[in-house]
């Protein structure tokens, strides 16, 4: 008990002296993680869309070649940035660029360097997630859009991407939480994040463990808040499972409709059977979503397979 009291006192002392530094560290960490995740998602979406442009044997050879080349370039990008530690990427970008270009190309701001590194890192992960999210959308949706004359771009922006976005929301959340924690490696290029505040405080006070406790509590608070917010956003996106009938004209209400005793017709009170079927439906959708996520992960593991299936699907 004594130890805890001691720890508490040390934390209080640290907070009294370095509280402002910790808080500004938290602020910087959150900004970097948020901006990095948003830009990373945009990169991921662009890559995912470029990766899923269909081509058939009847297409012009130049078009086929360009599309294949694009896929290869994205593959290399994903493999390189997913396969190396972010801390080394930061070093390579921040110190490597001036080294190789004799100081003519370099990052003048540590903020810019940190945002670039976090963004392209997140982008590499998101590229695969987005591809998984796109191919998990029912092909019938694409056919429905094509059948009313939509082009590939229109189909993507109006129909497929909004649904893919919903499918990959959990992964976006994952990436954000990972970024909150992993931006701690940015101290290597002197970025003033939450972890850098810890290093500064420890250097001056030698209260190593109490400061680490502050960090632990701080990071956990940030990630828990983020989780909570993301759940809320997902719920918002799903909307309510019931709907309001538009009761403008009493005559149109029944025109052509049939009454089904087990469903909610315009005149029914909410009956229990209807309620149950709604619940079943939402459960089914949840299972489908989880399946889609698992598929996305599997697709990551078997990228080669995935690429083949996709091409077969287009033929």
């Amino acid at each position: 008990m004594n130890k805890f009291a001691q720890l508490g006192a040390d934390i209080a002392r640290l907070w009294g002296k370095y509280g402002a530094a910790y808080l500004s560290g938290i602020e910087n960490t959150l900004i970097l993680a948020l901006v990095g995740t948003v830009i990373g998602c945009l990169i991921g979406f662009v890559c995912g869309v470029l990766n899923t442009i269909p081509y058939t044997k009847n297409d012009h050879p130049v078009k086929r070649f360009v599309l294949k080349l694009v896929r290869v370039i994205i593959r290399i990008y994903v493999e390189v940035f997913r396969g190396t530690p972010m801390v080394l990427q930061a070093v390579f970008l921040y110190y490597g660029l001036p080294y190789f270009t004799n100081n003519s190309v370099k990052f003048t701001s540590v903020w810019a360097a940190a945002i670039v590194v976090v963004s392209i890192n997140t982008g590499a992960y998101m590229a695969e997630s987005v591809r998984g999210g796109i191919i998990s959308v029912d092909p019938g949706q694409t056919e429905g859009a094509k059948a009313i004359g939509m082009t590939h771009v229109q189909t993507m922006t109006s129909v497929i991407l909004p649904q893919a976005l919903r499918n990959i929301m959990p992964q976006i959340g994952n990436n954000f939480i990972i970024n909150v924690k992993d931006t701690s490696v940015m101290f290597i290029i002197g970025f003033p994040d939450f972890f850098a505040a810890h290093r500064a405080a420890v250097g001056a006070s030698y209260l190593y463990f109490p400061s680490a406790s502050v960090e632990m509590i701080g990071y956990l608070t940030m990630t828990l808040l983020a989780s909570f917010l993301l759940r809320w956003v997902e719920k918002k996106m799903d909307g309510s499972s019931s709907y309001e009938l538009v009761q403008g004209d009493q005559l149109t209400m029944t025109a052509g409709t049939y009454s089904f005793p087990d469903r909610r017709s315009p005149f029914d009170e909410r009956n229990p059977e209807g309620e149950k079927s709604v619940q079943r439906e939402s459960l089914r959708r949840q299972i489908e979503r989880e399946e889609a996520i698992r598929q996305g992960q599997r697709a990551e593991q078997r990228r080669d397979n995935g690429l083949n299936t996709q091409q077969r699907g287009e033929n």
Binding site: T56, N58, D138, G140, Q141, E143, G144, A145, K146, A147, I148, G149, M150, T151, Q154, S158, V159, P162, Q163, R166, G239, S241, S242, Y243, E244, L245, V246, Q247, G248, D249, T252, M253, T254, A255, G256, T257, Y258, F260, R263, P266, V278, E281, R285
Partner: protein, 245 residues
Amino acid sequence: MGESILQIHHLSKSFGSNLVLRDIDFTVDKGDVISIIGASGSGKSTLLRCINLLETPSSGEILYHGKNVLARGTNPAAYRAHVGMVFQSFNLFNNMTVLENCVIGQVRVLKRDRETARQHALDYLERVGMAPYVNARPRQISGGQKQRVAIARAMAMDPEVLLFDEPTSALDPEMVGEVLNVMRRLAGSGMTMLVVTHEMAFARDVSRRVVYMNDGVICEQGSPEQLFGEPQRPETREFLSRFRG
């Protein structure tokens, strides 16, 4: 009969070494209501999907007002805007309400302004009896209701011909009637329709021409009275006898 909208010449389609359609010749005139019947796997749906270019035919040509849409340089999207399609599995856009489903194509493809498109969509939704459900999402309505919305969505594009790919096959029996009623009214209004169906009563009562497909070829076609009354080919007779029970 008026001018022909679609002329199909020597159309073939194979998936790998599997020849699904063989040398199909076939014309759709303005105002035609054509039912395509036949056993599962006889190529009915593939023919419909080829007509809408959802499948690329292996050979042959599809003339739309005399112009071959399979020629290089034709824009399949522009062509599809004139040829509506209703699917067995509805394929309503899950991320939109019933109304948005019927508006989006008009706005993005036909470049109509939102208000005109909305009025137009509401008009058709009312005709299929789905006006009270404009704000519902596809997952909140029944199969029969989804299919009626899908018909309204296709009609809102003012297509010249509407293709139906087994529109009632995925429905509970109690919901088949409501969809067939809508289709019956549509046929009565002079819409050009091409319907792949297993509903023999619909084929007999509503269509002007019935096409019987067997094993990738058009085996026999004619007026409903002719085809159902005195089928010429033994395959047709055998197929129809299965429905008389």
